[in-house]
Structures are given as structure tokens and as C-alpha cells.
């Protein structure tokens, strides 16, 4: 187990720069998710950490040691691939034992037929078999040890891939979208199991995903990547409630955050015909994007500042998401309501919308977060 340091790593494929100077410190035992849309360079970064791909510039340090030029096999990292990448010709037990065999047996001891009879290989093989059994029991696949990968379901293959990573004690685990080939139900279940596994073995995990829900539910920290840059790396809560960039705000959270284009002048935001007082810093002028999470919005009486018509309602049972077209605005905002409010959310009904001033997230025209230096008083309602 060890800490990882990613220091100003860049990567260029031909003419395109895929990673634009990534820096990230991952502490020992941390579970860090790299999350971002497809093609933003997450896998590339993970492969550079693993040593499967060379960086164009920058350095990777494992436990303080620069590993540039050390090949993947010698970095002592384990990786789980999106496609599982199990050896199709080996049984589950053999698949899981490969990393141990390659490391603990000498080249001669690995030879087929005569290898097992050489001095010393017997003891080591017994040890390896025990380790494989233990890993299989941890993942509850000990009944499948004699099967070939072709005879397993997706979820079982996924576990075998985890087992192969788990069987030795690597400096860190690298997981590249390990759940994306599973069906939704299994994904939720395995998500919890991986998080639990991390808690139990306390190893360093770097987890790549494009699914923000996975990142939110599993990680100690989330690094949000976009276009080859890390926009923000913080605890899930912080990333959700305090995004530093509008792209982070838009990527994290489902349903998506509501963004209203406004004009700021003298501390007042003008949103179409509507004036929203006390939200913006006094010295801020010009276009400002106002971000409001669906759960920050509440239904209010029809004389509230923001008014609209219910356009569409999604009832999830435990909660209701209503899309409301605002008066005098293009587009809709999404609002989260409780099932009790179901009745006031008839399609076409006129409703008012209220929110707490502190819940408003302001971004300048370049998408950077604007903080209001004058603390918005608690419970300052915009209604």
C-alpha cells in the first residue's frame, strides 16, 4: 500500500493533447474517483499511472519514488479493466493465480509439466492456492473456481477480475470503469461491495468512471476531469455543494443542475424580467450564470418572483421531479418535490418557485465560480 503522486502529467497523441498537465496527490488508503465524460482522458491517465502508456511530460511517484521508466509489471499495481480481460483459456482459479505465479515462481518453476516438481515449487504452489482460495471467498466466487471465463455471467467475470487484482497486495488498485458492463441492478450492488472492500482492506484505490453516481457513492474524493484537465478534486459533498466550475456543477448531480442566465449589477441579478436581490457581490457586473440544484427549489405560492407552468412530471415514488417552464425564460427548470405535493403539480398548473439564497451558485461568463464575499444571511429566502 502506498500513496500516489501525479505531478504535471501531460500526454500527447500525435497532434492532440489528451492530458494537459494533471496534478493529483492521492494519500495512502484513499479511494479517489476520476470522473468525467467519455474521451476526457481518464483511461489514458490511469494507464499512465499503471505504466501501460508513457507520459509525454511530468512524473508519477509511488510512495515517493519516481516510477518513470519502470515497466508496468514492476510497479506493483493491480488493475481491473472495463472488459475484465480474463484469460479465456484458464479457469477462474488459474486466472486469479497468474499474478502470484508470475511474481513468486521462477521462470523454471513456471514451466508446464516439470515445473511443479522442482524443489520449492510445491510449497509455493500450496501458498498460492491458499491465497487464491482466500481471494475467491472474499468475493464469494469460490464455487466457480473450476470454470472457464466463457461459462460465467458478466457479474461473475467482474468478480474474477477483481479477485485477480485482489490476490496480491499491490501498492494501489486501479479500476477502469469496472461496472459499466453490468446491468443497472448488479451495478448498484457491486458498487456497494467495492466500497466495502475498500474499507475492509484499506488499500489505495483509483477508480475511473463516467458515471457521477458511482463516483459520488464510493469515493473519499472525486477528481472531476474534463478535456484533459482536473477541474476540481474534493470530497463528494464538497464537489456537489460547492463546485468551482460550471462544468463540474453540470456534470455532478442527477437530475442536472438548473442554470439560469442572468445579468448582475450592484448586487442584483436580473433574470429576464425578474429581479433577484442580495445574491450577487456588489462589485460584480455583467453576465452571470445562476445555478440552482433541483432540491434547492421549492414550490411556493403563485406570487413568488420566479413563476412558471408545470410542463412535465416524473414521479419516482419517493420523490417527484417536475419540469417547469419559467415565465419569460426559455428552457425549463427541474424542481424536486415531495410526494405530498403531487397534487399541486398538475401539468399546466401555474406555480411559484422559491429557493434559499445560500443555495444559489454563481458562475462568471468563463464558467468559474463567483463567491459572494458578503455572507448571504441564513434563511434569506428568494420567493
Amino acid at each position: 500500500m502506498a500513496d500516489l503522486q501525479i505531478d504535471q502529467v501531460t500526454k500527447t497523441f500525435g497532434d492532440t493533447q489528451v492530458l494537459k498537465g494533471i496534478s493529483l496527490d492521492i494519500a495512502d488508503g484513499e479511494f479517489v474517483s476520476l470522473v468525467g465524460p467519455s474521451g476526457c482522458g481518464k483511461s489514458t491517465l490511469l494507464r499512465i499511472i499503471a505504466g501501460l502508456e508513457g507520459q509525454t511530460s511530468g512524473a508519477i511517484r509511488i510512495h515517493g519514488q519516481d516510477v518513470s521508466g519502470i515497466r508496468a509489471a514492476d510497479r506493483n499495481l493491480s488493475m481491473v479493466f472495463q472488459s475484465y480481460a480474463l484469460y479465456p483459456h484458464l479457469t477462474v482459479a488459474e486466472n486469479i493465480s497468474v499474478p502470484l505465479k508470475m511474481r513468486q515462481l521462477s521462470a523454471v518453476q513456471r514451466l508446464p509439466v516439470i515445473g511443479p516438481f522442482l524443489p520449492g515449487s510445491r510449497d509455493k504452489n500450496v501458498e498460492i492456492a491458499a491465497a487464491v482460495k482466500h481471494a475467491a471467498q472474499t468475493l464469494e466466487i469460490d464455487k466457480l473456481l473450476d470454470r472457464k471465463p466463457g461459462q460465467l455471467s458478466g457479474g461473475q467475470r467482474q468478480r474474477v477480475a477483481l479477485g485477480r487484482a485482489l490476490v496480491r497486495e499491490p501498492a494501489a488498485f486501479l479500476l477502469d470503469e469496472p461496472l459499466s458492463n453490468l446491468d443497472a441492478k448488479l451495478r448498484v450492488q457491486t458498487r456497494a461491495e467495492i466500497a466495502e472492500l475498500h474499507r475492509r482492506i484499506g488499500a489505495t484505490f483509483v477508480y475511473v468512471t463516467h458515471d457521477q453516481v458511482e463516483a459520488m457513492t464510493m469515493s473519499s474524493r472525486i477528481a472531476v476531469m474534463m478535456d484533459g484537465e482536473i477541474l476540481q478534486c474534493d470530497a463528494p459533498d464538497e464537489v456537489y455543494h460547492n463546485p468551482l466550475d460550471i462544468r463540474v456543477a453540470e456534470f455532478i448531480g442527477s437530475p442536472k443542475i438548473n442554470i439560469l442566465p442572468t445579468e448582475a449589477s450592484g448586487g442584483v441579478l436580473r433574470c429576464g424580467d425578474v429581479l433577484l436581490p442580495t445574491l450577487a457581490p456588489n462589485e460584480l457586473n455583467g453576465p452571470v450564470l445562476l445555478g440552482l440544484r433541483p432540491e434547492a427549489l421549492r414550490l411556493a405560492s403563485e406570487d413568488a418572483v420566479l413563476k412558471g407552468q408545470v410542463a412535465h412530471v416524473e414521479n419516482l415514488g419517493s420523490e417527484i421531479f417536475a419540469q417547469i417552464s419559467l415565465v419569460g425564460q426559455e428552457g425549463r427548470v427541474t424542481l424536486r418535490a415531495t410526494p405530498v405535493q403531487r397534487r399541486s403539480l398538475r401539468i399546466g398548473a401555474n406555480v411559484g418557485i422559491a429557493f434559499e439564497g445560500r443555495a444559489a451558485l454563481l458562475f462568471d461568463s468563463s464558467g468559474k465560480r463567483v463567491f459572494n464575499p458578503h455572507l448571504i444571511p441564513a434563511h434569506s429566502e428568494v420567493a
Binding site: 494507464r47 499503471a50 505504466g51 501501460l52 515497466r71 508496468a72 509489471a73 499495481l77 493491480s78 488493475m79 479493466f81 472495463q82 472488459s83 480481460a85 480474463l86 484469460y87 479465456p88 483459456h89 484458464l90 497468474v98 499474478p99 508470475m102 511474481r103 466463457g150 485477480r164
Partner: protein, 320 residues
């Protein structure tokens, strides 16, 4: 319905055309020379007792034989004893045509030795071809290095060179280093199979990169990846290649004929067939066809045994 019928008729016709020479070969290997000449006797021939003229001629009694036989035939003149001896020889040299053909195939020429040579040569060629082609194909399919495309173009280019065009230079080189009339001469020129490299490369391209990366993470070096990951996953493709390689070299007449001059110990099975050509007493079709049958039998048996996997191999559906 009728379209299927036509399809099948055409296929059956095609199959008959392909099978006809085999049918002749096997049928001739059962028949007596007379039946072959007159074209009678159906598939198996009548299997009537026949007399091996050469056998009789070899036992033609001379004066000592006659003198030695006097005690067995008392009160007979020399010419009577002679006739009796000839009659004995004729009855000893009588046998069924099938026995005649096949025993001739094995006794006239050391066919077992030839078969063994064939096995040694084809197996060596195939093994070395794999040892060379797999790493080369792996590098061409999965490693990034400067000039990879150029090397692959060279491979494709080499596919276009007919062996007969380079046979002479090859022969001269082998002769210069004194390798003619050795197993090496039969094996070495075929050890680098561009076709094998090409075929395996095409297969390796379909192996997911993740699998190779996983092997690297598991601690394998590039050669370990070739032998422990690529080879086992490529078994179907290898079998497909084995068909081409083994059949081509087992049946090859051209090259062994060039580099093996005189030393019958190095003859491969097809060269063995030649032993029956232009024999003193006319064509020797029965034993010749028996030899041919013996030569192709190992291939056919191997094919039947591995039929399912061969067809898999040709469709290259090993993964997934």
C-alpha cells in the same frame, strides 16, 4: 425447395469431381494388375488369388536348386523336378491383390522410413514456423515500433513470391554450405512462413488490447505474453495454419526432389511414390496406389480427429 435441390445437386456434383481421383486411388490399391488394365471388378476388385510374376521369376530354380531337391522327389527326372519346383513357387507366390499391393508398398520401398521422415520434416517445419511466426505476428499486431507498417508491407510482399522462383538460389546456398541431403535442407528453407506470420497477425489483431495489458499488469514480459496468452488464445488459428503447413509439406514433392539426391534414407513419402514409377516390368499401379493411400491416410485421420476444431479455426472464431 427446388432451389435447395439444385444447390445440393451442384454441391454433390462438385464433391464427386473432387472425390473421383481418391476413389480411383483407393480402388486401384485393392485390385490386381489385370483388373486395373481391363478396368473391371468394381471398387474392391474380385480379390481372386493372383500370382506375383516377379516372385515366381525370383524363385526360378537353377541347377543347384534342382540337385538339392532330388531327395524330396525320388524317381523323377530333372525336368520333372524343375516343373514341380516351379509349381511350388507359383503356389507360394499366390496371394490376394489387396495383400499383394499393400505388402509391395511396404516391402518394395522402406515406406515406414519415408513416413517417419515425413513426420520428422513436417513436425520440425511446423514447430519452427510457430516459434518464428508467433512473436513476429505479435509484434506486428500489438507492439508499436518505428517501421512497423513497412515491415508488415514486406511480409505481404513476401507472400507474393512463388517458392519455385527462389528454389534455385536456395538450392545453391544450401549446396554451398554443404547442407544438401540432410534434414536441414528439407526443413530450414520453410521455417519462416510469411503466410503464418500474416495469418497469426490477422488473428492477434482481434485479441483485445486489454487482455495484453492485463497480462503486463500481472507481471508478464512480452515473450511470456506470446507463449502464455497469445498462443493459447490462438489455438484455433494455429490449427488453421497447421492444415496449410502440414498438408503442404507432407505432400511436397518438388523441394525434397531437389535437395535430396540419392540418399533414400531421407526420402519423404511423396518421393517414395516414385519408386514405383518406370519399374522394369511395366507399370506397377496397384502397389503405387497403395503407397499413395498410405501416405494420405495420416492426413485424413488427423483431419477427422480434429475436424471440429479445424472448422472453428478456419472461421477464426476463437475469442469471446
Amino acid at each position: 425447395m427446388t432451389r435447395d435441390l439444385w444447390k445440393h445437386l451442384i454441391l454433390i456434383l462438385g464433391a464427386l469431381i473432387v472425390i473421383a481421383p481418391f476413389y480411383m486411388m483407393v480402388s486401384y490399391s485393392f485390385k490386381s494388375p489385370g483388373e486395373i488394365d481391363r478396368g473391371e471388378g468394381g471398387f474392391f476388385g474380385r480379390q481372386e488369388m493372383m500370382v506375383d510374376e516377379r516372385c515366381v521369376k525370383l524363385r526360378d530354380p537353377n541347377r543347384e536348386d534342382v540337385a538339392a531337391a532330388v531327395p524330396r522327389f525320388p524317381n523323377k527326372t530333372d525336368s520333372q523336378i524343375r516343373d514341380a519346383l516351379v509349381a511350388e513357387a507359383v503356389s507360394d507366390c499366390q496371394m490376394r491383390p489387396i495383400v499383394f499391393n499393400y505388402s509391395k508398398a511396404f516391402t518394395e520401398a522402406p515406406l515406414l522410413r519415408y513416413l517417419l521422415n515425413g513426420v520428422i520434416v513436417t513436425a520440425s517445419i511446423f514447430l519452427i514456423q510457430i516459434v518464428v511466426a508467433l512473436p513476429a505476428a505479435y509484434a506486428l499486431a500489438k507492439l508499436k515500433f518505428w517501421g512497423r507498417e513497412a515491415v508488415f508491407s514486406l511480409v505481404l510482399f513476401c507472400l507474393l513470391i512463388p517458392v519455385h522462383a527462389i528454389a534455385l538460389p536456395l538450392y545453391i546456398m544450401l549446396a554451398k554450405i554443404g547442407l544438401t541431403n540432410t534434414y536441414a535442407a528439407l526443413v530450414v528453407p520453410w521455417t519462416i512462413s510469411v503466410f503464418g506470420i500474416f495469418l497469426m497477425r490477422q488473428f492477434f489483431i482481434t485479441v483485445p488490447d486489454d487482455l495484453i495489458d492485463a497480462a503486463r499488469m500481472d507481471g508478464m514480459g512480452e515473450f511470456a505474453i506470446v507463449w502464455r496468452v497469445m498462443l493459447p488464445t490462438a489455438i484455433p488459428a494455429l490449427l488453421a495454419f497447421a492444415i496449410f503447413s502440414v498438408v503442404a509439406h507432407w505432400n511436397d514433392y518438388f523441394w525434397p526432389r531437389i535437395v535430396v539426391t540419392g540418399n533414400r534414407d531421407l526420402f519423404t513419402p511423396p518421393l517414395g511414390l516414385r519408386e514405383f514409377k518406370g519399374d522394369g516390368d511395366g507399370s506397377f499401379f496397384g502397389p503405387m496406389m497403395a503407397t499413395a493411400t498410405v501416405i494420405v491416410t495420416p492426413l485424413i485421420v488427423a483431419f477427422l480427429v480434429a475436424q471440429r476444431r479445424f472448422i472453428e479455426g478456419i472461421t477464426l472464431s476463437g475469442m469471446k
